[in-house]
């Protein structure tokens, strides 16, 4: 492949007058998503052929990807909004941990009913995101450093609530956690369904609403977006609010999945979310990508975990290494693509 692409046309310098099929493919913004989807498929097929006798072919194994990674999907969808707008949110993991702790504390120690706690937790998350967005926009401080402060703050608040984990024995929570919704091929948990609903909503918002277009525009070029008269500040703040809301929702799903609150829940999950977004083909500089790619990113990460489980002999740290390697590969793919587009 490399022999055919590079030699005839300009290597990097100028755009070729008649772009070949390969150049066109490389310039296609859907390429990273397609690569990720193909990767997922390839990994799945490999898994099928390797662990056929161990029940990998069972459709429930596929559905479990959603059950086990629903919270990550929600968090990653929130991160997609932020990254699409050209920012970054490091507070995701802490906010998830805080939400588990907050809800566990309210439900178990304060005896509040879940129906009150859930909107409260979502509100706190969204407000946290709003505050960070407000500071980022109004005082022109880098998102990285503001959300870093958010990371410290929420992790600290977790510990302020309690140093020990709080297990949840509330009957509503456990019945919700155990509910399985039967589908034709298997069943899904409530968390997985919520995650899919969030994904669908995000897809609609990003691709079919004015707000979604503004997010793309700001990520593409903030100056141009401003000159075009787009409400820069409002959109930016809204993006971080969405991320905060999604993190809190992810925290609720995580709480449901694991049925406890722990100050050390979800440490470093912001990296998983960012990795999922990047592997899903969203440009880290913003302005280009698809939320459906994020789904594939999460599925790939989830599949790595299941394959390592099925393999049995591999240890869990291989997950981190594999994630890092994939991250690297996709960053390089993105880099070659943007290099072609810019020049």
């Amino acid at each position: 492949m490399s022999a055919t692409t590079k030699t005839p046309t300009a290597p990097e310098g100028r755009t070729a007058s008649g772009p070949s099929a390969v150049t066109r493919l490389l310039g296609d913004r859907r390429l990273p998503v397609l690569v990720t989807a193909a990767l997922f498929l390839a990994m799945y097929v490999t898994g099928l052929s390797r662990y056929q006798n161990y029940g990998f072919a069972d459709s429930q194994v596929f559905l479990n990807l959603f059950i086990d990674n629903g919270y990550l999907l929600v968090a990653a969808v929130g991160a997609t909004f932020v990254i699409m707008s050209g920012g970054i949110d490091l507070s995701v993991g802490s906010l998830i941990g805080f939400t588990t702790m907050f809800t566990a504390w309210l439900v178990e120690r304060q005896g509040l009913p879940l129906i009150v706690v859930v909107p409260l937790a979502l509100g706190v998350g969204a407000f946290g995101g709003f505050l960070m967005g407000y500071v980022i926009h109004n005082f022109e401080i880098q998102p990285f450093i503001v959300t870093l402060a958010g990371l410290f703050l929420f992790r600290g608040l977790c510990l302020v609530i309690s140093k020990e984990s709080i297990s949840i024995s509330d009957s509503t929570v456990s019945s919700l956690a155990q509910t399985r919704v039967p589908l034709g091929l298997g069943d899904l948990s409530i968390g997985a369904l919520v995650a899919l609903a969030v994904l669908a909503l995000a897809f609609y918002v990003l691709h079919y609403t004015r707000f979604g277009r503004r997010v793309y525009a700001i990520g593409g070029n903030e100056q141009s977006a401003l000159l075009m008269g787009l409400p820069l500040g409002g959109t930016k703040i809204a993006v971080y609010t969405v991320s905060g809301f999604c993190s809190a929702l992810a925290g609720l799903l995580f709480m449901l999945y694991i049925q406890s609150g722990d100050p050390l829940h979800a440490v470093g999950m912001e990296l998983d979310a960012i990795a999922a977004v990047v592997i899903g083909g969203t440009l880290l500089t913003g302005g280009s990508g698809y939320v459906i790619g994020t789904l594939f990113g999460v599925l790939v990460l989830g599949l790595i975990k299941s394959i390592i489980q099925f393999e049995g002999t591999l240890s869990s740290w291989w997950t981190k290494i594999a994630t890092g390697v994939l991250l690297c590969a996709f960053i390089l793919i993105q880099r070659t693509m943007t290099a072609r587009k810019q020049t």
Binding site: N138, I141, I145, V160, S315, W317, W318, T323, G324, I331
Partner: protein, 366 residues
């Protein structure tokens, strides 16, 4: 802010506008807060030929952070950032400890030196990789270093086989937990690294080149500075510092923990750099400020312990510090809060007669 009166204020103003004034003031204030709670806070005792005291332990426990932060300062000065230092700390500790634990005689000097060499070489290679991605491939530093941040801890666990490797090596214990000339040995290591860094960056043109690359990499390249090479060198240096910190941490605990060694040290280091007055936008740096910034963080931690505030609020305090420092550094915030006049031009605060040469450092970042 201050009322301009007689000529006597000018010296005060010159003092307050020195770039180290605020970091030092914060540090001194933090240290003084301890006195009512621990009356002998500043006392230094001599026991068994070693100096003991709160001040000594602040420097001792702050040593790894100072090292990492010094490396981070140069990276940030080039307009970059290195998130992978925590993972590099873990990798270096893991490699060194696993090599030492394989030795028949863990106290053999040659083996210990070789082990440390292996660890540091691995660290520098991580830096080379980061620098390559940033300078050659043109990837944003945050993202480029994210790769090792994610994968590095996996690698460290791979090296230690997921275990916490404990070792029992007297010579190796020296670097992080030993004493020399009555002082903790790590203080000498830190002093040496800081001295070499300051000498290299302030006595040679290297510091200027780094600042130039951070100010405008493309322009620097056009005037003939090898900006890519400088960037790669800076990332390698940062990783080397993180590696030495990794040796120190693993030596102090006589163990390598791939999962928790150096956890979040990158964030503390960035915080130290910011407190020290180095702009995150690059183009200007202050090693002295960073050292003081790191001491501020360590003192904050110690203070929280000694005055009896529950330790878990540590992170909340840190978050507050980050926010306050960043807000104070933000020209827009200062314009909004301190100077109603400077609305349109945030770069010019409402102080009337600021001497041009003593302009506050943050404005350079705009």
């Amino acid at each position: 802010m201050s009322t301009p009166s007689a000529a006597g204020t000018s010296r005060w103003r010159a003092l307050t506008q020195h770039h180290l004034f605020w970091p030092v003031a914060v540090l001194v204030a933090l240290l003084l807060i301890n006195v009512p709670f621990t009356p002998d806070f500043f006392a230094i005792k001599m026991t068994d030929g070693h100096l003991y005291g709160s001040l000594v332990s602040i420097v001792l426990f702050g040593s790894p952070l100072i090292l990492v932060a010094v490396g981070m300062t140069l990276v940030i000065a080039t307009g970059g950032i290195d998130l992978s230092v925590g993972a590099v700390v873990a990798i270096t500790g893991a490699l060194t400890c696993s090599y030492i634990s394989d030795q028949a005689d863990q106290n053999a000097l040659a083996g210990v030196f070789l082990a440390m060499g292996i660890g540091l070489v691995a660290a520098v290679l991580c830096g080379l990789w980061n620098g390559f991605l940033v300078a050659r491939m043109g990837i944003q530093p945050i993202i480029a270093t994210l790769i090792i941040m994610v994968a590095g801890r996996g690698v460290a666990q791979l090296i230690t086989d997921g275990q916490i490797i404990t070792i029992n090596s007297e010579p190796y214990k020296l670097i992080g937990g030993g004493y020399w000339l009555t002082l903790p040995f790590s203080i000498f290591v830190v002093a040496a690294v800081v001295a070499v860094t300051v000498a290299l960056t302030r006595k040679t043109a290297l510091g200027l080149l780094v600042e130039s690359v951070g100010g405008n990499a493309e322009a620097s390249r056009l005037v003939g500075i090898r900006s890519r090479r400088i960037k790669i060198m800076v990332y390698m240096f940062c990783a080397l510092c993180a590696g030495i910190a990794g040796l120190m941490i693993s030596s102090n605990t006589s163990a390598a923990d791939g999962n928790n060694a150096g956890l979040w040290i990158e964030l503390d280091a960035i915080l130290a750099v910011v407190i020290g007055g180095t702009s995150l936008l690059g183009g200007r740096f202050s090693i002295g400020g960073t050292v003081i910034g790191a001491l501020v963080i360590q003192t904050l931690t110690t203070t929280i312990y000694t005055i009896g505030v529950p330790t878990q609020t540590n992170l909340v305090f840190k978050a507050a510090v980050v926010i306050v420092v960043c807000l104070l550094q933000s020209p827009k915030f200062r314009a909004k809060v301190f100077g109603a006049k400077g609305r349109g031009k945030p770069a010019a605060p409402a102080e009337p007669a600021t001497p041009a040469d003593a302009a506050p450092k943050m404005e350079v970042s705009r």
